[in-house]
């Protein structure tokens, strides 16, 4: 998450107001009288980052302060579950703000409980036998709403992420970047492998890097030959319970999805 936060600030600069919900990113917003941001920041409730962003943008606009970025840095829990209403509403109303979801695929700050973004088969404290349900695709939901800019990104490819944040910065409306953000504690792997695990997700085709700009899809990192999904899964303890049959089935899904995505390149998403 810190990799994402630093990349974000590198691109957005000092004329930025940051919103963080109670979550991993809130640790930067601080404790007591101490804070880690050098820009104005505000801690929202878990579900209303996008609502605050709406009000802040409206306030800035009526005061004629148009050169300030408004960005939300929220986790998957506060976005795909409880945060969905506010996000969908803010996107529908078209406010100019950037929403970055760092997706560590569970409620990590409270101790690894499952979220709608937890992938199938993953261990969490509330899915001890592995999650049965599939991962929610919020990017697709927002694209269906007609968001001007939405993208996937990864903590393993920070330049791709930085380019996307730069694009988002210049959108005159809402933009959404969903960043795959491995958590060594929750996914059960040594911290040093964070970037490697993130890259494996992309290189196996599980987490394709793409952007949808005004409805048109563009894949931003094409993988010539997909690595076997097993490499990604076996790198993490949270998938220890997955059976070979599940891996096979999942592998097929991933490859099929990737092919479908490639076929849609350059065209309207839906």
């Amino acid at each position: 998450m810190e990799i994402v936060a630093r990349t974000m600030m590198r691109v957005l600069g000092p004329k930025t107001i940051v919103l963080t919900p109670p979550s991993c990113s809130a640790i930067i917003t601080g404790y007591g009288r101490e804070t880690g941001w050098r820009v104005p920041a505000f801690q929202s409730n878990l579900e209303n980052v996008a609502a605050y962003a709406s009000g802040i943008r409206a306030g800035l606009e009526i005061l004629g302060k148009d050169d300030i970025n408004v960005v939300g840095l929220a986790g998957d829990g506060g976005t795909v579950d409880i945060g969905l209403q506010a996000l969908s509403g803010a996107v529908e109303r078209g406010h100019r703000f950037i929403y970055i979801c760092y997706d560590n695929e569970a409620y990590m700050n409270t101790g690894i409980q499952r979220s709608g973004a937890t992938p199938q088969g993953a261990w969490t404290t509330t899915t001890p036998g592995g999650k049965a349900e599939a991962k929610k695709d919020v990017v697709a939901m927002l694209v269906a709403q007609g968001i001007p800019y939405a993208a996937t990104a990864s903590a393993g490819y920070v330049e791709d992420l930085a380019r996307k944040i730069e694009k988002a910065k210049n959108v005159n409306g809402p933009s959404y970047i969903h960043v795959h953000c491995p958590c060594s504690t929750g996914w059960r792997f040594p911290a040093r492998n964070t970037v490697l695990v993130a890259r494996l997700a992309v290189e196996t085709g599980l987490w394709p890097l793409y952007e949808v700009e005004n409805g048109i899809l563009r894949i931003t990192r094409k993988v010539k030959e997909l690595k076997p999904l097993e490499e990604f899964l076996r790198a993490q303890g949270r998938f220890a319970q997955i059976t070979p049959e599940q891996v096979k089935r999942w592998q097929e899904e991933v490859q099929a999805n990737y092919q479908r995505l490639l076929a849609k390149e350059g065209q309207r998403w839906n």
Partner: protein, 94 residues
């Protein structure tokens, strides 16, 4: 009856820059081979703690805050970094 004007801020706000010396957390530290390092800055962009800096095309590491996570080692395109056990005072700079 007059009320004393209060100009101090009231409410939950934070203004002190946090400055925990997180270097004390680490159990191993990254060591750079300056012959291999060409100052490409890749590690500076991946370091979660932002303690890598390139000066005169070579890497400088600020050990005051380095937590020893080891991500830098995995992203260096020239394998110029490796983790070594932490010995002696944790804050000594490279």
């Amino acid at each position: 009856m007059s009320i004393k004007q209060t100009s101090r801020r009231e409410g939950p706000y934070a203004y002190k820059p946090a400055d925990a010396k997180t270097g004390a957390w680490r159990q191993e530290r990254p060591k750079v081979d300056l012959d291999k390092c060409n100052g490409c800055s890749t590690c500076t962009r991946y370091c979660p703690t932002g303690i890598m800096r390139v000066k005169d095309k070579k890497l400088c590491i600020d050990y005051t805050y380095c937590k020893g996570c080891g991500v830098c080692v995995t992203v260096c395109p020239r394998q110029a970094l490796k983790m070594v056990p932490e010995e002696g005072p944790s804050y000594a700079s490279a």
